[in-house]
């Protein structure tokens, strides 16, 4: 009986039973649907085994959108719970699980795959490459991320969710204070997804450095590619730290070591230190590609080249360096003394300078432009003022003496949402609308898109501005309830209304996708936005090999040169193209990883050993495999190109 008790949810509620039922029904529906429409073969051949960076990108996108709603439901539940004082909608335990999973899901399983989607889909097209450097590794990266995310998500229905906050500070996250397997899920699921991310980092650095089209020197790369390169460099330096941290946490929890315990020489704040050595750069892994997307969109719709290209690149390099030098600002109140706080206070504020350079560059890109308000541009224009607000409150938080008053309050919660939502989420949505026609061959409806952007911004302001005030009024974060006399009631009610409006705007996005799929015209050109960079010189839909002839590049706006200066992008004859073969191994290996993770979480050592052997088996299989890929013949290319031109 004891064995089965471990898999039971320690703290069930109606919501959890409902999600169990929902997961079960969805699974049945998916399986039945695939069988009925005889799509198993299609799914396996075209998606599960694919090594095409565009398809992998789209799978990242789907996962990100799915997780956006998963994390969004958490958010709404939290705001509903806090809307009135002494609310009993959720109890303390449930609330703790929800804010913990909201943080993880949104950062690691929503925002990360969203930027991975852009990197996968856009970077090879933008640098004129036919694929990424290691296509099969890329598939493995995606599937590891996906399995990590799924593993994390079943925690709500099997065994219990993590409840120590997304930062999971020890000793609270240790066995003594978190007995359930929840925190094991945290350690293992993030570990598996993190390995995938690290491999993506290596893959894309190699891709960007080695596979650029002829003529594209580093300083002729489009801004999004630059931002992706720098973000991937940060990934390669930061994610090993996370891997080690999670391994240490796992050892503490499951093998009785004492890295972070309260006695036997453990140091609880060691966790916080290492966590933020990864955690702070992580923020820039998210925001830099977002900046890259804004740069593309703003220069496209201002109909002008990006102002201050060199300083844009320089500021990103400086941000990436500084991002590793500020981690202690997450715990100014740890008691490390005035000197240490002063150093970290200054390095933190210094980040405002390169970030400010970027804001001013975007503003100056608008100058003398010919600004067209499309949905992506609207998001970008709303981003600038909202993000500026978040940026300046960041400078306020960086003043460590004053931070003693902001730390762990709603002021902080307001700040980081004020940075991440306009900074990252708006960029993702802007980019989604921007790249949608390239992915699917039709535009998203502009009118619904603009409504969504405005509604989201109104909701955003209502949801988060009151938090600055209630933070200064003494409302700590992560409190599941508060007394009437505390006086936080009205502000939290406004926040709830704002959150509800935001929820409506996210539903509108889904509606827009549905509406546009049905009614929007399929008759669009390859370059519907009149854009400036190479990805728009491909056919829509993009053929498997991206470019029949590799482009010849002379500036960071290659397509614009071709359009305005008469530069010929594609010179020469068709030649046969070498492409990698699809492979089932990444998917199968990741499934084994899933079982491995699940067994590890519940300390089922026999399956752990078996699956570990399975993982190494897959690797061995790969190393003995003779697979040199295949060639697409000239005839085949000619046929594809003629068909696409006719379409």
């Amino acid at each position: 009986m004891d064995f089965f008790n471990r898999f039971a949810v320690p703290h069930p509620s109606i919501a959890i039973y409902a999600s169990m039922a929902a997961i079960g029904l969805t699974l049945i529906a998916v399986i039945a649907g695939l069988t009925y429409f005889k799509k198993w073969g299609y799914l396996w051949r075209e998606w599960l085994t694919t090594v095409d960076h565009k398809r992998i990108g789209i799978m990242y996108l789907l996962s990100a959108l799915l997780m956006l709603f998963r994390g969004g439901v958490d958010a709404i539940m939290m705001r509903a719970q806090l809307a009135v004082p002494e609310n009993t909608l959720l109890d303390a335990q449930h609330y703790n699980e929800i804010f913990t999973t909201h943080g993880i899901v949104m950062i690691l399983f929503m925002a990360m795959p969203f930027i991975m989607f852009f990197m996968n889909f856009v970077v090879p097209l933008q640098i004129g490459a036919r694929d990424v450097a290691f296509p099969r590794l890329n598939a493995l990266s995606f599937w590891l991320f996906f399995m990590g995310a799924m593993l994390f998500n079943i925690s709500f229905v099997v065994g219990g969710s993590p409840d120590a906050g997304w930062t999971s500070y020890f000793p609270l996250a240790g066995n003594e204070f978190s007995e359930s397997v929840g925190t094991n899920y945290y350690m293992i699921a993030i570990q598996i997804a993190g390995i995938g991310t690290l491999m993506t980092g290596i893959n894309f650095i190699t891709t960007i450095l080695k596979m650029r089209a002829p003529g594209m020197t580093l300083m002729k790369m489009p801004m999004f590619t630059w931002s992706a390169l720098i973000a991937n460099v940060i990934i390669v330096f930061a994610f090993p730290v996370l891997a080690v941290l999670l391994a240490m946490g796992t050892l503490d929890r499951q093998f009785g070591t004492n890295f972070f315990t309260m006695d036997n020489g453990g140091m609880d704040m060691l966790w916080a230190n290492i966590f933020w050595v990864w955690g702070h750069p992580e923020v820039y892994i998210l925001i830099l590609p977002a900046f890259g997307i804004y740069s593309e969109i703003i220069s496209t719709f201002a109909r002008r080249n990006l102002y201050g290209y060199t300083s844009m690149v320089g500021s990103m390099v400086i941000i990436s360096l500084l991002s590793f030098l500020v981690w202690a600002h997450h715990f100014f109140t740890m008691g490390q003394g005035a000197l240490t706080n002063s150093i970290f206070s200054i390095t933190t504020m210094a980040i405002a300078v390169p970030t400010g350079v970027k804001i001013f560059n975007w503003l100056l890109t608008l100058r003398k432009g010919k600004i067209v308000f499309t949905t992506p541009m609207l998001y970008s224009m709303l981003f600038i003022p909202l993000f500026t607000l978040g940026g300046v409150t960041g400078v306020m938080l960086a003043m460590s003496a004053a931070d003693y008053q902001y730390h762990n309050t709603m002021f902080l919660v307001a700040h980081f949402h004020n940075v991440i939502i306009p900074g990252v989420v708006y960029a993702m949505l802007a980019g989604l609308h921007y790249y949608w026609p390239k992915m699917f061959g039709f535009m998203l409806n502009e009118r619904i898109g603009k409504w969504t952007a405005w509604l989201m911004s109104i909701g955003f302001i209502l949801a988060f501005m009151p938090m600055y005030i209630s933070g200064l009024d003494g409302q700590a974060r992560r409190m599941y309830t508060y007394s009437e006399s505390a006086g936080f009631g009205p502000m939290n009610m406004v926040s709830f209304v704002g959150a509800a409006i935001m929820a409506i705007s996210f539903v509108l996005i889904v509606y827009n996708i549905y509406y546009s799929t049905r009614y929007e015209s399929r008759d669009i050109s390859n370059d519907p936005w009149d854009a400036r960079t190479l990805e728009w010189s491909t056919h829509t839909p993009v053929p498997e090999y991206n470019f029949a002839i590799l482009p010849d590049v002379r500036s960071n706006e290659a397509l614009w040169d071709a359009k305005k200066n008469g530069h010929v992008l594609f010179k020469g004859e068709y030649e046969k193209i070498h492409m990698p073969n699809n492979s089932g191994i990444p998917f199968i290996m990741s499934c084994i990883f899933f079982v491995w993770g699940f067994s590890f979480i519940f300390s089922l050592w026999i399956p752990v050993v078996v699956t570990t052997l399975g993982i190494f088996g897959c690797m061995a299989l790969r190393s003995f495999e003779q697979d040199h890929g295949r060639y697409i013949s000239v005839k085949e290319i000619e046929e594809t190109e003629t068909n696409l031109r006719g379409a």
Binding site: A92, V353, V372, M396, A401, I469, R477
Partner: protein
């Protein structure tokens, strides 16, 4: 003097705006009752002031660009020029933020040393030392010099420096009395020092600000500031009426759960001393005179790893 004048003006302007916004009740953090909180509030208001200038600059530039360079306002054949950048523009773009950050850094560093030291104006008073330790989900306050201990409430004298020694019997917590000054962590393996003082008598809210599990929301305590005489009377009264704290009783108190306010004679420090781990700072009770000079070097810098 001039700088101070600006600060006062900014202070009052933003104080008014924010209090009006908050429905005329002053926000706790901006309603300081002690020198440390006052310094923090003035830093906050100063930074809000400077930051609003930046926000206004960005907003007005954005509005100007969007109004002036809309496609609909231009000739259909207008071709935007190709502009790479301009050295002087970039110097200004970097220069002004650098100056602002340098100014704020200067203020910030000054404030760091101020909040880490004995409160301004109370340098000559002998500090009242209180050991504040947290357990799930309670606060234990030990007054070693007075020989008494309370649970979940704190009586403090006004016009006297307060020196809190913070540590935890469980997860990391954060000791916070917004109106007296910002928080600091209480951890299981080291003792941190927080310097506060209260200028006026009154009731203040205190809480643990760092998430510590299920009972976190209710992990609060009441702070009552009173004159030194009243405080002395209270101590005397406690000594006459309260029961002594025993090791057994204390073990019971440490059990996870919520308790009301309790009072004891003696302190648990006698049988359950605070941690003396790697990062432990000097015991201040023995050397109160030197403490204020060494404070800023507490913690990691002085730790002999």
């Amino acid at each position: 003097m001039y700088k101070k004048g600006i600060k006062v003006v900014l202070f009052s302007v933003f104080f008014t705006i924010i209090t009006v916004l908050a429905g005329c009740e002053p926000l706790l953090v901006l309603d300081p009752k002690g020198p440390q909180a006052e310094r923090q509030a003035s830093d906050i208001l100063l930074s809000i002031g400077i930051m609003s200038l930046i926000v206004i600059a960005v907003f007005s530039m954005l509005v100007y660009m969007l109004v002036k360079y809309r496609a609909s306002k231009q000739r259909p054949d207008y071709e935007p020029p190709h502009i790479e950048g301009n050295l002087w523009v970039e110097v200004i773009m970097v220069g002004i933020p650098v100056l602002i950050v340098a100014f704020l850094s200067y203020i910030s560093v000054q404030s760091n040393y101020i909040v880490e030291a004995k409160p301004k104006g109370y340098e000559d008073t002998k500090p009242l030392v209180v050991y504040a330790s947290s357990s799930n989900w309670k606060w234990h306050f030990s007054y070693p010099e007075e020989g008494i201990e309370t649970v979940n409430y704190l009586y403090i004298p006004t016009d006297r420096a307060l020196e809190f020694k913070l540590y935890s019997h469980g997860p990391i917590t954060s000791f916070w009395i917004p109106q007296l000054g910002g928080q600091k962590y209480a951890m299981a393996d080291m003792v941190t020092t927080l310097h506060l003082a209260a200028d006026v008598p009154g009731e203040f809210m205190g809480r643990n600000a760092n998430f510590s599990g299920k009972g976190f929301a209710e992990n609060t305590f009441n702070v009552t500031a009173m004159s030194q005489d009243e405080f002395d009377d209270w101590v005397k009264e406690v000594k006459e009426t309260a029961k002594p704290i025993t090791e057994k009783k204390f073990e019971e108190l440490l059990e996870p759960g919520h308790l009301g306010q309790q009072t004891y004679t003696g302190t648990h420090l006698e049988f359950s001393p605070p941690p003396t781990g790697h990062n432990h700072s000097e015991e201040s009770t023995e050397t109160p005179e030197t403490e204020s000079h060494t404070d800023s070097h507490d913690g990691h810098e002085s730790a002999g790893h």
